[in-house]
Amino acid sequence: MDVPTTLNGYELIYKKPSTLTEKPFHYCPGCGHSVVHRLLMEVVEEMGIQEQTVGVAPVGCSVFAYDYMDIDMQEAAHGRATAVATGIKRILPDKFVFSYQGDGDLAAIGTAETIHAVNRGENILMIFINNAIYGMTGGQMAPTTLLNQVTSTSPYGRNKEAMGYPIKITELLAQLPGAYYVSRHAVYTVNAVRKLKKAIEKSFAYQKLNRGTCFIEVVSNCPSGWKMTPVESNKWLEANMFPQYPLGDIKIPKD
């Protein structure tokens, strides 16, 4: 859509990036997925790499990511986005390749592919949206679900005896030598969004230098699965998710 560059003498200072399609997001009101889609596309637009970027979409609420991001994209089977991204990057090493996955996709069914892609140091950017739940299928417990968190399959709260502990997959992956840059972010405030955008920019810059795997976790919300308003979900996230999944860099390049 063409947006006028001036309005009653005022200058245009923010508009939707041209790298997003016209299609309105199907996500629930307030869902963090859409913010991350937009940031990726803002970075792609600003770096002028729309023709050189290839994304891999997951199974989960973001299964239709390719409808919104106006770049080349490939859909992967549930959990296999990093394996597919590996193939694409190896065939097309000059492209900027990223995978985009939820916590069920990346840290449950796709755990093996995730670990081995990072262990091989694949030169891709992995985006991991951790909302501590299977959003798409009706709010079931995920490996990342917090202790005592109520989900549709842990109606009395997650209990560690029966269901184990919330997995910090990002910290696990950071230990692998193939992981070059590992960072945890969020999109719940203006500052958090700005920081995530910087992390995405850095990751693409590292990819250009063939440095290895860049991994960005986004601690996100699922207002529908959590049964909260969007505003409440962001408060809950700050109070409950951050103690388990603290924001910040987990592994930064030594050079």
Partner: protein, 78 residues
């Protein structure tokens, strides 16, 4: 202070209120009407927007376009 304004696409907006919480000027509120999808939508409720872009940065649905007075206009005003 620099003046700004926002154009909110009422039919894209899902009334999540995240922009309302993010606006330091309390310029935004929810409409009484509903849009084509049945959501109340965000709209300017005061003429005090500074064009800080906060609302657009947090809007999940990219419904907000932001405009701001050019800096030259500010100089003239002083």
């Amino acid at each position: 202070m620099i003046k700004g304004t926002v154009i909110i696409d009422r039919d894209i907006c899902k009334g999540c209120e995240l922009c309302i919480v993010a606006c330091p000027q309390e310029s935004l509120g929810l409409s009484k009407q509903i849009n084509i999808n049945g959501y109340r939508f965000a709209e300017l409720v005061q003429d005090n927007c500074t064009g800080c872009v906060n609302c657009a940065i947090v809007c999940p649905d990219v419904a907000i376009t932001v405009y701001r007075q050019p800096k030259s206009a500010l100089k003239k005003a002083v």
